[in-house]
Symmetry: C2
Subunit: 885 residues, 2 copies
């Protein structure tokens, strides 16, 4: 048991394999500093292991533990030369929680534990400051009672407010020693009334209560919710740190502060921080006094007048600076440090890796390589690939003149323009016509998920940074402004108003999710660029990774962006997106409404030149890199008109009776379109559609050749294959068209034919399918839907319940699920066994998710393909995956 | 090569391992009879292997083959003492195809090959019948030209018709020798005109042409279609039988006939057949003359006057009878035999296992066991389990007075009553309200599949026995009358008319799919029974099989029927069906429309007594046998009102605003309901629903106990599980309710908790799920849908294309697909590894399909569960599976 309670200076902690797991993050760092000989106030850590023992012992500390704690407490007494509960020189301690990772929702800190009606007098005497001592005592009672005894804090606040009212003062600072004495009495009465017990005067009981409270807070509702959201296992437990108090508020030779070893915002290698003379830690955070700069340079740069620590306490500053350097060298990372100066003596209270912006993270990592502090590998492993996302969103072109009509919360970064719509249905409808929309709602609900997918941006008038709209939009990578109370939405009349302006459905607005600005009209956006440190980091990543990174793209704009971001090919070019253009959709509809193959061929012939042109453009941009073209996938009814007006238009344009169009729409209706007549099933019924598409690809290749454009080898991908016969028939179809085009043009054409693996049967029977495929591309969106039997469009209704009940550790549409992963592994194994040359990739949205990319690397795929703006994320994640192997 | 052309009497054929594969069915039997010393006209068989050689040799017989054929022909010449093409005693032969299995669509027979302008004279002389010889020759020209030379038969028919018109006669029999001579000239001219060649006079060329034609007919369109429909591999090929002709039409001491060794209709052990004196085989079939009975007894029983063969040719009859007995003893099966008597000499032309009705098949098998001809095992293996289906459909109670209003084709057996509906939507709507319907359509199309599922019977005014309606209805086991031209359907006014009567939508009719009768009003039907031979066969089957057979049933009527058919428990009791009853649906809707858990609980409390009553009734009927109860499965929107009127009713009844109900309907709408908020996902969101259902089950158990009803152990089944957490949470829920009910009643309750395995993820992760499950039941309907990513409701649009393109050998919703089977095997292996006691069953519709049952047996499942009327089919199939192991 004694090995579970460890003094900060103990050498035993050296032997611990995973100090953070055993001592918690805070404890491990205090212990580390202690062993390094840095000035840490004496104290000890109760291991995370004890948390489990505590819960198993009916949520109580057992005798052995109490004995161990007391033994360690004696050790602190010896180190500080103070005694716990002593009436002359009392030892006061802080009690803090400390889990493996920093975790809001748990009990944070109880300060000044050890004060009671008697020791408070000793403190007053020692500090020669009765008011301070009494104030500390009442704060302790307040904190302890609320955290440990469960007496709501407002009871105490109320007493203070009433007292001030009676006395006719406004601020706490206007209360003196006597006032606090009176309030302490009142406080203790409240405790007695609420708990039926006196406020504990026994300092050992106080300690026992505080330690227990830390353990209990591990299972508090907020902590549980936080763990669930952040996928932290319940069984990790928390450690408890008991540490002797030091005071930064005992006079002008005292201070307290927070300092970063580098600038956490820019990443510059300069000490950055704030301090306050004669203050306690909470004063720095509370904002009642304005903290001062640490360094002179920072003070001068900011034009500040209050002297910096470097100027007021040069000796201590020098010592601090040296310690910071030591710490950074030891941890090889930017540190976030808390310190207190008590009567000119510097005490280190905490050190931890500092939080930083993505931009500074990149700079710090690259700088540290230059400084030879870390290796390139370490630099790569240090950046969270997902964090790069914030560096990769389009921003408003600040050169444009803009008219900001309202502001809201910057809930999900990126700037985007689109037509205002007020319903998910309308967003979907316009998306079907390839029009960009901004979905404007009072708030969103799971029923809006499909609309949020369809819209390019989301704006709500209600809800905070963690509202449904904000969370979902961030997950989807859609720019979002939430809770813009400056706008009021009128669904009935399809408009929203500010106090100056009215915006109706269909008008174009621009939202800047990075700043919360809502702007009238369309604003040019600036594409983010990869340069400087970012570019260097990426090049290092590329030098390590084995997994290729392609992109999912079919428009020239996206394709160019993806190449700029380093895409090494297109992994998924969705040809149906090309069907929606205004000048084509009518031919597509004509094709679908054809009654004979001849008529259908006529309509297809009209589409051929368009598709061909698209391909030429994309092949040109890709300049020799591989392009995977997926043939038509969605069910035909997706292309048909939906509203009465649209049907009339089609009727006029194609000279078909409205009833006939309606009857065809009825015929094509599907109960479960996701599982319907789509993918290669369409081509089994209407081979001429794929034949046209293949012809467009091959003719595009020939035209590129003729125009001396660097040739590419197209990889023709058949969607929704589940049987050997399907891929066999489709391969024959592609070969047939290739041979026709070859013969017509008397030339050679190279191409690959492969298939999506997006149905469980295709994975299970991969050995058969691989006989006829040059490549497999895992379509993990559909594979996840069919493996789970869950429609993504409909999952909004129960996904929350599933996360609430911990059924899904993580949304399987975000990171590849274990079961889906099993199928991918089976398909990889069976496919490669049949066909050693089989090329394997992934093109579902998981292709841009670092966790999934790691899985792809482990499984041995050849490439991942993701949306253009995720390409750098994927490049970094792929490098990390390789380095972790 | 010589071993590929085998004389019927050759001893070589003894050495052939699979004579049917090598010689075809007909050839193997002729060869067998030859070796047994039975009087078979000399001849030989060209092996099925030659078919392949023929196609590889550019669809021609190579020199070696021709040499071999000629050698065998010489052998026949020696045996018959005739010579091929001889002008005095010419050998005439028949050429017949003969594949492994009898196969319509292929060339059948060419008779009298060897006739030409000269040999016909010899035949005339030999038979002293010029007219017969000329008639034979013109028939040969006609047959040969159409089959071998590709000259359409109607050319010749036309000539005969014109000739008769000119001559002023009506019947062929009125034409004489000279007439045929004239027509033979005309025939030969037609051949010359159409083929630019003379009709072949070289008898060897005739033979070469006929043999080639047989091989070519293997790839004829009709043959290919037949093979596809019957899953016969393309590479089997056909054999060719060349046999010397014998003549049953050379005088009154000649005859020809067809005879079965037992009665193929009743199965009685009595010779049954027909013959004609002085006739050729085709005359028996053609129907121009009425054939006479073979036995005296049959003649007397039928009150016939024309003497039987037993009476006219007693000697030959005796010889035939003996041969029949020999054959049956040899083949140990009822034989269907063709014979000819030429000048008192009996010749056996063919023997094969006789086709029989299901009823006679059962009787014959049981009788043959009694006769010690075959073993019980053989008897069981001899019956096609699917054929029992025809013995298991309800029939009209002939005691009822019925009003037949029209007739149609008996397209799918069984009798059923229901409300007339004219659209699939209406059928579905009424089915949703648990009302029986008859879907009446001019014809059906794939779009009607869901309506055909929903309706209890199908009636069409157009289309034959193989129309869409007929084929699909038979597949589904729905009674169907097709092509009833006596009714005319008026969709607009929602009625159909006969010339006497008008039937409007909603009126009740009864259809008898076994006879084609359409009856006004409801008619009582008689449940089929298992008794006599059938019962005996079933008891033998039970003694061999290991696989248990349960039933899918939730109504008392079905449950009773299933028990009578031998069900050993319920494998799937779908509780949602109990929700649709008129007195419950309103409470169900109230429950769904509830806004709070309290309101929902109130509505559920109203449902509890109903569910409890249902369970008591079913438990009672099952009398100690296991009952698997599946908790609520379908998405809630299925229970909500659909039409405006229904919505209004609900609004009135529940006191909710119409708009509110509509908005809830909108909220619950799903894009892909198959993959939506259903199964255990409902209970994750609304645990109180399953809690009510569990309480109903447990309280029913206790009430049964109190009433001293033989206790059953309920097996509570959780639908749509895909993760370990789901089954874990659900098991806790069931246990919680069980403990509550136990405590309330101070009694013990035994029960099992298990899950459907109906999603690929559940199969893949079976090791995790099995930790919390006492049993798995494979829900192969949904498992097939998700594994393939095919919605059964929508597959109608492309399933035909898939069968056409041979992508599906067999509809995966009928027989378990290989890929789905792999998942079942994986789940079985992983599940059993985790939990040795795991009970495994199947409750999809595949549970009643013999091929799938065989799979289940091989995979080692414990039981299959199928619809009540399939239980005997499953019992037999399970026994066969065991015996085949």
């Amino acid at each position: 048991m004694s090995n579970l309670i460890i003094n900060f200076n103990s050498n035993f902690s050296k032997k611990i394999k995973n100090p953070k797991n055993f001592l918690g993050g805070k404890g491990a760092n205090l212990s580390q500093m202690g062993r390094m000989g840095l000035p840490v106030p004496p104290g000890f850590t109760i291991s995370t292991k004890v948390c489990d023992i505590f819960y198993k012992n009916n949520k109580q500390l057992n005798k052995q533990l109490i004995k161990g704690i007391n033994k360690q407490l004696s050790q602190i007494e010896r180190e500080t030369n103070k005694k716990f509960g002593d009436l002359k020189n009392p030892l006061l301690v802080s009690v803090r929680s400390g889990a493996r990772v920093s975790m809001p929702g748990m009990m944070d800190t109880i300060l000044n534990l050890g004060l009671n009606d008697k020791t408070v007098m000793a403190l007053a005497k020692k500090t020669s400051n009765k008011r301070f001592a009494k104030d500390s005592y009442r704060r302790f009672i307040q904190m302890y009672s609320s955290v440990v005894l469960g007496v709501d804090s407002f009871n105490f606040e109320e007493l203070i407010e009433n007292y001030k009212l009676t006395k006719g003062v406004l601020l706490d600072t206007e209360l003196d020693e006597q006032d606090w004495d009176a309030l302490i009495r009142d406080f203790k009465n409240v405790v007695k009334e609420k708990t039926k017990k006196e406020f504990p005067q026994d300092v050992y009981k106080q300690l026992d209560g505080a330690i227990s409270a830390v353990f209990l807070s591990w299972q508090s509702h907020r902590a549980k919710v936080y763990r669930k959201l952040n996928h932290i296992p319940d069984d990790w437990g928390t450690a408890v740190n008991v540490q002797s108090m030091v005071f930064g508020n005992m006079g002008d030779d005292c201070a307290t502060g927070v300092v970063f070893t580098r600038d956490p915002s820019s990443g510059k290698n300069e000490i950055y921080g704030e301090y306050l003379i004669n203050a306690q830690g909470e004063d720095v955070v509370a904002g009642t006094r304005t903290p001062q700069h640490i360094t002179k340079k920072a003070r001068i740069n900011s034009g500040g007048k209050e002297l910096s620590m470097e100027e007021t306490m040069p000796k201590v500053f020098k010592q601090l600076k040296k310690i910071l350097s030591t710490l950074e060298k030891h941890y090889k990372d930017m540190q976030d440090v808390e310190f207190t100066v008590e009567n000119k003596k510097l005490w280190m209270l905490q050190t931890r890796s500092g939080k930083r912006t993505a931009k500074s993270a990149v700079k710090i990592a690259v700088d540290m390589v230059k400084e030879k502090l870390i290796s390139r590998k370490e630099a790569i492993l240090r950046i969270d690939p997902n964090s790069l996302d914030t560096l990769l969103h389009p921003t408003l072109d600040e050169k444009s003149e803009i008219e900001v009509i309202a502001k809201g919360l910057p809930a999900s970064p990126g700037a985007v323009s689109g037509k205002v719509v007020f319903s998910s249905e309308e967003a979907e409808r316009l998306n079907g016509m390839m029009q960009n929309t901004i979905l404007v709602r009072v708030e969103t609900s799971p029923e809006d998920i499909h609309g949020m997918h369809a819209a390019k941006g989301i704006l709500t008038s209600r809800g905070g940074m963690t509202s449904h709209a904000a969370v979902v939009a961030r997950g989807m990578g859609r720019p979002c402004i939430s809770g813009s109370s400056e706008i009021s939405i009128d669904y009935e009349n399809k408009l929203f108003k500010t106090d100056r302006i009215k915006v109706t459905e269909g008008e174009i607005i621009t939202i800047d999710g990075s700043t919360g600005r809502i702007i009238l009209g369309e604003v040019q956006t600036v594409k983010p660029e990869i340069s400087g440190d970012f570019s260097k980091l990426m090049s290092w990543a590329d030098s390590f990774r084995k997994l290729k990174v392609r992109t999912n793209s079919e428009t020239p704009v996206d394709t160019k962006a993806a190449r700029d971001f380093g895409a090494e090919g297109i992994g998924l070019c969705r040809t149906e997106h090309m069907f929606f253009d205004e000048d084509r959709i009518m031919s597509v509809r004509e094709m679908i409404l054809s009654k004979t193959t001849t008529d259908r061929n006529k309509a297809l012939a009209k589409l051929l030149p368009h598709q061909k042109k698209d391909f030429i453009e994309i092949f040109k941009i890709m300049n020799g890199l591989p392009v995977t073209v997926r043939l038509l996938d969605p069910p035909l009814h997706e292309f048909l008109p939906k509203s009465e007006k649209e049907i009339k238009d089609v009727s006029n344009s194609l000279g078909l009776a409205v009833t006939e169009i309606e009857s065809r729409i009825g015929e094509l209706h599907e109960h479960n379109p996701m599982l319907g007549h789509r993918g290669c099933r369409l081509a089994i019924s209407f081979p001429e559609i794929y034949e046209m598409q293949c012809r467009a690809i091959f003719e595009a290749i020939i035209e590129c050749k003729n125009k001396k454009i660097k040739s590419i080898i197209p990889e023709i991908m058949i969607p929704l294959v589940s049987t050997e016969a399907e891929i066999q028939i489709m391969k024959n179809l592609v070969d047939k068209v290739a041979n026709q085009v070859k013969a017509e043009n008397k030339t050679k054409i190279d191409y690959l034919v492969g298939t999506m693996i997006e149905l469980p049967r295709a994975a299970i029977k991969a050995q058969d399918i691989a006989k006829h495929a040059d490549f497999f591309s895992f379509g993990t969106n559909d594979l996840t839907q069919t493996t789970f039997g869950i429609s993504r469009d409909d999952s909004g209704k129960f996904l929350n319940d599933y996360i609430e009940n911990k059924i899904f550790d993580i949304d399987p549409f975000v990171s590849i699920d274990e079961g889906v992963g099993d199928l991918i592994e089976i398909a990889t194994f069976k496919g490669r066994k049949q066909n050693k040359k089989l090329k394997l990739g992934i093109c579902g949205e998981h292709g841009g998710d670092p966790k999934s990319i790691n899985f792809c690397s482990t499984t041995g795929l050849n490439y991942v393909s993701c949306s253009p703006y995720r390409v750098p994320v994927a490049r970094l994640a792929a490098a990390q995956a390789q380095l972790k192997k």
